[in-house]
């Protein structure tokens, strides 16, 4: 055995034990991705990007917590939730690419980068369709608890309805996501209570995070024309339709925590345009610059 490299001993001359780099893995391999009759492929792709960009961007923000959480257990919890959301994003972006290949950025001929990676790493901020709640810069631990609570309450309500989608891929991704988001929402709700009922300092920080993020909440339950169109076709969900339900769940948490519902108005769009239209805060382009830099430097790279 050559002791100059630790990897030589691991390899043992049989590269077949290595899972990666042997072949590209299509997350939708063998799945029927035919666009349902009567549905526009471009609209379906746009819708998948909205939901997928939410989870991709939020996943990246959660991943930034890695090694920074107050306790090892919570570090692992945040990483696990980031992974769930990233997995959902991967399927949704792959579904977007299959519904309308024209949405996928064009890479150099022969590039091995799969469509969902091209969408994640080679679009500009203005092409992302996520809500702005997902992108704002991380704050303290109370901030991530509140962000996850607001997001998971609304997303869980949407996914429960989406699991009956006329698009079999969306229905399957949603049914899976319901199980995952249930754990995320419980985690965020329990920490919300713990911080609210903890020390004066933890409560102060929690209330402050809630006040700060509250104006971004409305976008989660406001419909974009694409969402309305697909909801009418039985493929998407009108997020405005889950507003009452998300209010009720949130009020349940606020009541136990004895925290008042903030009175701050929703963050206005620019000329009526918000995250769903590609109008973002400065935070997104900074986040993407870091997230995308390596992939963009090597558009034909093999990992």
């Amino acid at each position: 055995m050559n002791h100059d490299s630790v990897y030589d001993g691991l390899l043992g001359g049989d590269s077949s034990q290595w899972a990666f780099g042997t072949d590209f893995e299509d997350p939708l391999a063998g799945v029927d991705t035919t666009v349902p009759a009567g549905v526009d492929g471009g609209e379906l792709a746009a819708y998948c990007l909205m939901l997928g960009d939410d989870t991709l961007v939020l996943s990246q923000r959660l991943a930034e917590w890695c090694s920074r959480a107050p306790e090892l257990e919570e570090d692992i919890a945040l990483a696990n939730m980031a992974l769930d959301l990233l997995g959902q994003a991967r399927l949704l972006l792959a579904r977007a690419a299959a519904a309308d290949p024209a949405v996928v950025p064009v890479l150099p001929a022969g590039s091995p980068v799969p469509a969902e990676d091209a969408l994640a790493f080679f679009r500009e901020a203005g092409q992302f369709r996520n809500v702005r709640l997902a992108e704002v810069v991380n704050g303290d631990f109370a901030h991530v608890v509140v962000r996850l609570l607001l997001f998971s309450i609304a997303r869980l309500a949407v996914l429960q309805r989406l699991s009956g989608s006329g698009d079999a891929v969306l229905a399957a991704v949603a049914a899976k996501g319901v199980k995952e988001l249930t754990y995320h929402r419980d985690w965020a709700g329990r920490w919300f209570l713990t911080l609210a009922q903890g020390t004066e300092e933890s409560r102060k920080r929690l209330v402050s995070a809630l006040e700060q993020l509250w104006p971004l909440r409305d976008e989660l339950v406001t419909a974009h024309p694409v969402e309305l169109s697909l909801a009418a076709a039985g493929v998407g969900v009108d997020p405005a339709g889950v507003r009452d339900e998300t209010d009720a769940v949130l009020d349940q948490v606020l009541a136990v925590a004895e925290v008042d519902r903030p009175q701050r108005a929703p963050l206005a769009g620019i000329g009526g345009r918000t995250g769903r239209d590609g109008m973002h805060t400065e935070a997104l382009s900074r986040m993407l610059a870091e997230m995308q830099v390596v992939a963009r430097a090597h558009p034909s790279g093999r990992w």
Partner: protein, 164 residues
């Protein structure tokens, strides 16, 4: 006479989960189907969690194991629906989990999901000493599919495979 399909299914059935190697993919309930179409073996698998990083390894292991067993062409398909449930872990798989010091999942919840603001209650026994007095440390353990527990009597921490 063992059919080609039965032989392929038997080979696929020996492939183990990369993160919980005490379980075969069949015991875990991830291996959904093995078919032979001409000279192609088509294996269908369902991910445990959307972001399960072990999926690529499972696919590669299936391809390598079947290729080594003399099946020249292997295709691994992803089946997303119905979503994987911990209920699909076989009785044999549950016994293997316990033998390896892990706690097996109880029945998965069905129907509408309510918010649970108090810690999830599970009737567990410590896989080491058998005590029923256990406490949850975190709902998110070493992998997405596990929660972390501690035994109140022998103080040993252990992994519990979550109900989903």
């Amino acid at each position: 006479m063992v059919s080609l399909r039965e032989r392929a299914a038997a080979v696929a059935g020996t492939v183990r989960d990369p993160e919980m190697p005490m379980l075969t993919l069949a015991d875990l309930g991830v291996l959904r189907d093995t078919e032979v179409d001409g000279e192609v073996v088509v294996v269908s698998i369902t991910p445990t969690y959307s972001g399960c990083p072990a999926m690529a390894t499972m696919r590669d292991d299936l391809v390598h194991r079947l290729t080594d067993a003399g099946f020249p062409r292997v295709e691994v398909r992803v089946v997303l629906s119905p979503a994987w449930s911990s209920d699909w872990i076989t009785e044999h798989g549950r016994a293997e989990l316990r033998a390896a010091g892990l706690s097996a999942p109880g029945p998965a919840k069905k129907g509408p999901v309510g918010l649970t603001l108090s810690p999830t209650r599970r009737a567990l026994t410590c896989p080491r000493c058998g005590s029923a007095r256990t406490e949850v440390i975190s709902e998110f353990g070493a992998t997405a599919c596990k929660a972390l527990y501690r035994c109140v009597d022998c103080f040993e921490p252990f992994d519990h495979v979550k109900e989903i």
